[in-house]
């Protein structure tokens, strides 16, 4: 298991290859990547992500440990950035490895659902008009109920 909370950009290909190369006997690797997208009407200049140093790493480790308990996983990787990110930059990624794809897919979805609402990050959208904190969606909280 590797958890990285960082300001630096990461290379999706390098990270996915390194993750896959370190596995022993896994038949399935799933990766998910979150990317800074524009606002519906355009105009996003940047996204700023604040976090709670210490709690962030602790919360992600607990979420990943829970995933490893629920599914038979060969390995888990979570990288999540903070600081100022430009449109199109990668915000975060998860990778899961398992013998079979069902476990890898489900565990990746579980990680994403929990990272959204239980890892202490706060996003702010920067436009020419100013900066707006992104509000949490009820749907994100509801998504946890299926697990």
């Amino acid at each position: 298991m590797r958890i990285a909370v960082q300001t630096a950009a990461f290379d999706l290909g390098d990270e996915a290859n390194a993750f896959a190369a370190g596995l022993d006997g896994a038949g399935a690797v799933v990766t998910f990547t979150g990317v800074v997208r524009d606002l519906p009407g355009g105009g996003l200049q940047a996204m700023e992500i604040e976090h709670y140093p210490g709690m962030t790493e602790k919360a992600i480790t607990e979420i990943a440990t829970q995933a490893a308990t629920r599914w038979a996983l060969g390995d888990v990787l979570v990288i999540h950035r903070h600081g100022r990110l430009a449109l199109g930059e990668m915000i975060m990624m998860v990778a899961t490895a398992a013998s079979h794809r069902k476990d890898a897919f489900e565990a990746a979805e579980y990680l994403m659902d929990y990272l959204k609402s239980r890892a202490p990050f706060w996003k702010r959208e920067i436009t020419a008009e100013g900066a707006d904190w992104v509000a949490a969606k009820d749907a994100d909280e509801d998504a946890l109920e299926r697990w």
Binding site: K58, S117, A136, E141
Partner: protein
């Protein structure tokens, strides 16, 4: 104890963290003490349903006791991922 604020809670109060001397028994009691300080605290804590609290870096709730707690953090619902 150390009290930390994040995102718009930090902006409204105007501080990222402060040391607070308190005998508050619960998080809710601490919130009442802070609200009574100044308008900026009252504004930040106006609607507790819009806030979350962590005690020693574990998500908790407003009824939780503060005995033995060293670090309290207040913040809006998280938007990770």
């Amino acid at each position: 104890m150390e009290v930390l604020y994040f995102a718009w809670v930090r902006e409204r109060i105007g501080l990222p963290r402060e040391t607070v001397e308190t005998d508050a028994a619960t998080v809710a009691d601490l919130v009442e003490e802070l609200r009574a300080r100044e308008d900026r605290y009252a504004a930040a804590f106006a609607d507790l349903s819009a806030l979350r609290v962590a005690l020693d870096q574990d998500l908790s709730d407003f009824d939780a006791p503060l005995a033995g707690v060293r670090e309290v953090a207040f913040f809006p619902p998280m938007t990770g991922g």
